[in-house]
Point group: C2
Chain length 168, copies 2
DNA sequence: TTTACTGTACCGGCTGGACGGTTTAGTGGT
DNA sequence: ACCACTAAACCGTCCAGCCGGTACAGTAAA
């Protein structure tokens, strides 16, 4: 699917060179196609960014749903660590791409509200769950800016401690 | 000081209208001065953004240093809640402004590495301190996107629980 | 105490270039 | 014949940075 390749190219461009490098010509070149080809799939730059945002949210929701724990927070925790450890941290990049138009950020705001509210009051210890979710959020942020901050053993300990918080 | 007013105007523009609204003309107009006047204080757009980033980091470091606790993490926690509760959450806005050039983000990356490393191994429970700092980071993020997510009592409980984590 | 000069703080019009988007003409697989 | 593009020219808009001014405060010799 060429569409996916174009979204990939746009994300790579964003994380390598920053949001001002996201031009239609650059995305097309990186994806190995022409500007016309890009505009065939995404009729405007806005549509391209919207596509990135939607894919990001969908993929993460799927990853959360694919975990097999008994609470949303535990699934969210596992999904976050899976994503962060895999190294494909496009969240930050996509967000910077969308930061030009508040309108494009709306789905992301909505998703974030959901991620931090969903099933919170049904958990054994809502405050602990809240802290764990916030720490996951922080991890996304920190790792995006400084990928080398934590090594595998740190990740493992961190995940264990966060899981402990949810079962005390 | 006109300089500060220009930085304020730039930040306001970023958080109200997104990063693409950050043009020299718009900043000047919002600050009530001319484009020439703006370029007198900041010789380029890059310099303006650099100014915002630097002020952000300095102010937060000062806020941390002004707290009177016995560990860095506790000071960091108190500073975060003070900033977040005051409603002046410019961090996200400034970052989106700088996201055009990776070069402009460098000081922020450096600061973030510092905030998440400083005195960590000297704390009674480094893993707990790490979690608290990550949760603070997450709080910045979440509150920037969804300011109405938490009310005062939630903040109070959250801060108490995070403080508890540091003294068990 | 007038004059001449210097530096600071600012104004606002202009321009060159980049970028988003359109169009047109054409290609190759199915 | 249609889909999924390619290639390239082109247009209008927007914006950063430049530049030639202006106003004013100090200062210091004559």
């Amino acid at each position: 699917m060429r569409r996916e390749g174009l979204l990939d190219a746009a994300e790579e461009l964003l994380s390598d060179q920053g949001s001002s490098a996201l031009t239609l010509a650059a995305v097309a070149e990186r994806a190995g196609c022409s500007k016309g080809g890009l505009l065939y799939h995404f009729s405007s730059k806005e549509a391209l960014i919207k596509g990135m945002v939607e894919r990001l949210i969908e993929e993460f929701d799927e990853l959360v749903a694919a975990q097999g724990h008994d609470t949303y927070t535990k699934n969210y925790l596992a999904a976050t660590f899976a994503a962060v450890r895999s190294g494909r941290i496009r969240r930050w990049a996509v967000v910077t791409g969308a930061s030009g138009n508040p309108y494009l950020l709306a789905p992301l705001r909505e998703a974030m509200a959901r991620w931090h509210r969903e099933g919170l009051d049904g958990e054994p210890d809502p405050a602990a769950a809240q802290i764990v979710r916030l720490a996951c959020e922080g991890l996304w942020d920190v790792v995006s800016h400084d990928p080398g901050l934590y090594d595998d053993s740190r990740y493992a300990e961190l995940e264990r401690r966060l899981l402990d918080l949810l079962s005390e």
